[in-house]
Amino acid sequence: MSDRILEVENLTVDIPVGGGMLHAVQGISFHVDRGETLCIVGESGCGKSLTSLAVMDLLPSKAFRGANVLNLADEDMLSADERRMSDIRGNTMGMIFQEPMTSLNPAYTIGNQMEEGIKRHKNVSTAEARERAIYLLEKVGITGAASRLSQYPHQLSGGLRQRVMIAMTLMCGPNLIIADEPTTALDVTIQAQILLLLAELQREFDMGLILITHDLGVVARIADRVAVMYAGQIVEQGTAEQVFNRPTHPYTQGLLECIPIPGKTDRSKPLGSIPGIVPSLIGKFSACHFAERCPYAMDECVAENIDMQGAAEAGHEYRCLLDNETCDANARKKGVA
């Protein structure tokens, strides 16, 4: 079996809305290998959540999904029907959502909800399922695991519920986990714990992890590779080291300017900001989506769509017409490189 767990090429998501067709995700490509953490980072509304739903085929019924390639460990998911997808979900591919407070069914015990997944996908007895549940609850750091199984979700705090969600997602031993802003709804103090937990589990179970977030601090902590999304497109992709230390795309540079990173940001200068607002993605739109707000925009930038181009190092690409040297120079001038 190859190391590549997920291969996505030219994924699109279109949703018909009142004013026309919303092109929420416009041809993004990325991949995740075994044991690797890919962080998809971007502001609210850039399409990152829809990307994860598209991979799982859990989009709302109104939405249209398209892709050239969508492979889960060499299996083509584009041709998989709903039965096959339902076999895959929760089994070889799992997802953790943002709101732990409402993501568990209030009517059933923790144990019931954890065991039903593995009993559905694998031929295990109730006792075996229960054993695995206890094992995983302990793995995620929950004490008194056996008694927790008979508790109801409302009896647990938000942090505990998210741990339960993580354990629940691991029940069938998936190869890939997609975590959509798993810590956003939690206290800051808990956030760090949950993230470290995810990273640890990923290492231990040798899974691929896609972490979706808007928090660059989170990314800095645990990402192996980073994809920066803006207005439905990936504008920069590379290893964490590449993207953080040599940000190429003006948006990434702008982001890093805005966010104070301990050790990097110059404390004497004011924090940056990116003027303007995100463009509407309804209807035809060809041009660099960031052009309106870009300090370096040229006339060519609004003419037509811009493809990804490679940066200096292998595996590092960005979607801009400016060449690499100019971008490097800009980054250094801003103080983010």
Binding site: G276, A291, E292, R293, C294, P295, A297, M298, D299, V302
Partner: protein
């Protein structure tokens, strides 16, 4: 909402984005007139009300006029010898013109429906608003009253009371009015509770407005929408109850042309002359339907989030 044009740093011109929105009043009116149920229900109800008011003018005959020679003539659409345009909806077993009785019957249904709704509305709203506004003991007492009222079978009690006190139009109206206030109380109570805690009500309290003033100027305007919706529900409820009471013989007295009574009187001839129950029943159905559609429409237009 952005005004004017946006220029990028390079001077590239992005188009103006001026957003022109209609006012809330215009929006509400637009919603109203495009709501099919509201329009149909309202229109039909207006027609029936008009019929009720114009009854003496438009009825071809006196609804109480018995002409035994002309009894049991079928309506105009039947294929029968006796059918005549003098009695387009036929006649009943006493030779009374059905169309006239139908038109006059609308007076009874509307009068009772409206009056009972008014009485129960006043009682229920007073109790509900008091409970919602003052809370505490007042709320407890009102809740107790509501629970007690809900524990009594309405039709049975109405029948029993009417049989003991006597059945005139007034008594029926009062009995119904004193029995169906519960929904008013429940809905007004919860709505008042919600409004009570809104900032501007608290602000009015803080600046020392008197309680009646707060209730009438701050709270009432906000619960009026729900009030109207419940009013339509209870009006329909009262009309059905009166029809049931009259059907059982303990509502409006004969020879009044109450639609329920017409159904009761026609019941025994149902086999051969089904229109005797078909026509008044359909009239009842249409009236109730119209009121319900109107109420649903009002609720949709004013507070779509309460839709179920």
């Amino acid at each position: 909402m952005t005004d004017g044009s946006i220029k990028s740093r390079t001077g590239v011109h992005i188009e103006d984005r001026i957003i022109d929105e209609p006012s809330p009043g215009e929006r509400a009116r637009k919603r109203m007139f495009s709501h099919v149920g509201f329009m149909i229900g309202g229109f039909v109800l207006l027609v029936i009300i008009a019929l009720a008011f114009l009854a003496p003018l438009i009825s071809p005959h006196d609804p109480l006029d018995q002409q035994l020679a002309r009894k049991l003539i079928p309506p105009i659409w039947h294929d029968h010898l006796k059918v005549t345009w003098a009695h387009p909806l036929g006649t009943d077993q006493f030779g009374r013109d059905y169309l006239s009785r139908l038109i006059h019957g609308s007076q009874i249904s509307l009068l009772i429906g409206f009056s009972a709704m008014l009485i129960s509305g006043v009682i229920g709203t007073a109790l509900g608003v008091a409970a919602g506004y003052f809370g505490g003991r007042v709320d407890m007492v009102v809740n107790f009253l509501i629970t007690t009222r809900l524990s009594m079978p309405v039709i049975l009690v109405a029948l029993a009371v009417v049989s003991l006190v006597g059945n005139s139009l007034t008594i029926v109206i009062w009995v119904l009015g004193l029995l169906i206030w519960d929904r008013f109380a429940v809905v007004m109570r919860s709505t008042t509770q919600q409004v009570r805690n809104l900032d501007y009500v608290v602000a009015a309290q803080a600046i020392g407005c008197s309680v009646p003033r707060i209730i009438f100027t701050e709270i009432m305007p906000n619960i009026v929408n729900n009030l109207i919706v419940v009013a339509t529900i209870e009006m329909a409820h009262a009309i059905i109850l009166e029809a049931a009471l009259s059907f059982l013989g303990l509502g409006v007295q004969p020879p009044a042309p109450s639609w329920g009574l017409m159904i009761a009187e026609g019941k025994n001839h149902m086999l051969f002359d089904p229109w005797l129950i078909g026509i008044p029943g359909t009239a009842l159905f249409i009236l109730i339907l119209a009121i319900n559609l109107l109420g649903d429409g009002i609720r949709d237009v004013t507070a779509p989030e309460n839709r179920n």
